[in-house]
Symmetry: C2
Subunit: 380 residues, 2 copies
């Protein structure tokens, strides 16, 4: 993997880049749709291609439990298995083990947990997480980490940070000794933790930088902390991280968070918001959020977003979309997920153009003016 910065914004820390992988180039800043179980919920690879999605996420925790790494390896690796030819990143599952699993217990070299599917017991070590991802075959591998929720005591955040750093080192050493099962290369990113404590964050960042990963993820944010803390820690982390490596803000976020984080130097994002909210009938448009079940849309025959060129907006009215949703039709969930993914992908595309054309500051103002009717949150 190679990362190249091709343009920088004149007013902010925003930067435009390219990540070269053996499955193609990812233009950054980029948004990565989440397909934890090997499917971006409701959408086909063809849909994702039509939205110009560049890279999708898988999740080690999920794919290890179902269908299992051996099945995916036997099927020729994750790209072939899920029918997606462009780059794939798999998250380590650390977040899931510590938030989703029915039980989790830190032991000396790893963590024991119970599957949230069937209660079965499993043991993850940093090495095992690398082994699984070698078998899965994503382009970008994430190491086992230990994120904490919000709020967390300093002592809790410190322990988790220490363990995350220790596991990162074990992961990197083990990764270097292992090799790809496939005819393409894989790369390993580091994940920085530290909760909301700047000294812990700084320590984590510096340790990770010393280890020399190919890219750096800022983990453990967007777990319930106030927005200002998210923005501050993003800025704080971004300034410490090396300029020449991609920066990935994990689990972020809302459209406005993405804009604000790109301004602070972030290159990569992932979030379940477009698909999860799509399935709940909350739709993102250039004029702000639309809650489609609202009665005002019952005879509104305009497109969902007249500025949008997705299949949903080009072919159906708000009245029909509302009807499908209220009638419990699965097609609604699909059309909504498609639109939302297209909105997030288009958002990063428009930001890339604005930065390249030196109009990012103006673009941001216009975006906020249109997106937030109230004019709130325009700054930051």
């Amino acid at each position: 993997m190679r990362f190249e910065i091709t343009a920088r914004d004149k007013d902010t820390k925003a930067r435009i880049g390219k990540i070269y992988t053996d499955h193609g180039i990812i233009e950054t800043p980029c948004f990565m749709p989440v397909g934890s179980q090997g499917s971006v919920k409701t959408l086909s690879p063809k849909d994702l291609n039509e939205c110009d999605v560049q890279i999708v996420l898988g999740n080690t925790y999920y794919l290890y439990l179902k269908p299992g790494a051996e099945i995916i390896k036997k099927g020729g690796g994750i790209h072939k298995f899920i029918g997606w030819k462009k780059p794939i990143l798999t998250d380590s599952g650390g977040y899931q083990v510590f938030s989703l699993a029915d039980l989790n217990k830190i032991e000396e070299n790893g963590v024991t947990f119970q599957s949230h599917f069937d209660g079965s017991y499993h043991f993850f070590t940093p090495e095992k997480i690398i082994d699984i991802q070698r078998k899965l075959g994503p382009d970008i591998i994430m190491p086992l980490d230990y994120p904490v929720g919000y709020p967390s005591e300093y002592s809790t955040a410190k322990v988790a940070n220490d363990i995350s750093m220790k596991w990162a080192k074990i992961s990197l050493d083990y990764f270097k000794k292992s090799s790809s099962f496939y005819d393409y290369r894989q790369t390993l990113f580091g994940i920085c933790q530290g909760g909301i404590y700047k000294d812990l964050r700084k320590l984590g960042l510096e340790k990770m930088i010393q280890m020399e990963f190919d890219g750096y993820a800022i983990g453990g944010l967007s777990v319930g902390e106030p927005k200002q803390i998210l923005y501050d820690l993003t800025e704080f982390s971004s300034e410490i991280l090396p300029v020449e490596k991609p920066r990935y803000l994990m689990g972020i976020g809302k459209p406005e968070d993405i804009v604000k984080s790109i301004k602070r130097g972030i290159d990569m994002f992932d979030c379940v918001i477009p698909t999860r909210n799509g399935r709940n009938g909350t739709l993102y448009t250039s004029k702000g959020k639309v809650v489609i079940k609202n009665a005002i849309y019952k005879d509104d025959f305009k497109p969902l977003d007249s500025d949008c060129d997705c299949y949903t907006c080009k072919n159906f009215s708000r009245a029909y979309l509302r009807h499908l949703f209220n009638a419990g039709e699965i097609l609604a969930l699909r059309l909504f997920s498609l639109h939302n993914i297209n909105f997030f992908i288009s958002l990063t595309k428009r930001i890339r153009s604005a930065v390249i054309n030196n109009t990012f500051k103006d673009w941001t103002r216009e975006f906020y003016n249109s997106y937030f009717e109230s004019g709130e949150e325009k700054n930051g």
Copy 2:
């Protein structure tokens, strides 16, 4: 609407035809996917076009309750509302009123029923059903009818048949006095009832034929009766119906039922089987049914049906499809519905070719040999 017969099979009653509507030509025999609520479950109009679907069904009962005929009229009619430019047929909702509604009570001029959605009371008359369908705007309208289940006493079937005939006459007279709200024509079919009793069927058919509808539906079958009764009554009805009008066997059926009914002179079919069974993980292939959750498919990396050219079969393995289904992914339901609809559409296409090429008899034998491993049900 105009119907033209372009070829006949030399060995059976099978015939090839064209139904001309203002939304295009329907080649018969045809299979019509069911989209009761204005959506063929999980599928987009683009998907249906890719499967070469020629006509879809809507349902008056469902669309009257949600979103309501006025909304659809305000939205420019059902084609525009649901984004489907080819022909549409709407069923009258008679079947739903008598099978799905929480309560139904025949009164002198119609039927009172309670919505299965919210328990609200409604009153349908033959005239109201025409009015609703004039507003909805399908190409083919079906009149209010009164089907009975299986088994039903002779006296019950007789009463329902008498009411169906009476309502058919009222519907036709009222239809002739009304006119289309749209810039295209609508046509009305008659529905023949009579339960499993041949004398009642004969009476119903003769009365309907006297009234001179543009097409004739055989209703009230596939409601639990033995297969031989279905085939016998289909043949019996088909022989009485006029040669020059399209014959529609309502709610049928399984692939083998479609083959057997085409042989008996049927031109049109609709059934929820491909989508409903798709959502249950039962898939139709040239080699018979596949129950995808079965463990034998867990590391089966072959396509679902190597004879099929649908998106599902061209892009994914059985192992991945099984994984998606077992992991509860909505994409599974979509890919399965797409494949099953493609299978049913392709089945009627292949039959049309076989009849045209005078190979229907051989084709049928080969189809059964491949579809039924056991060799059972080869004849009939």
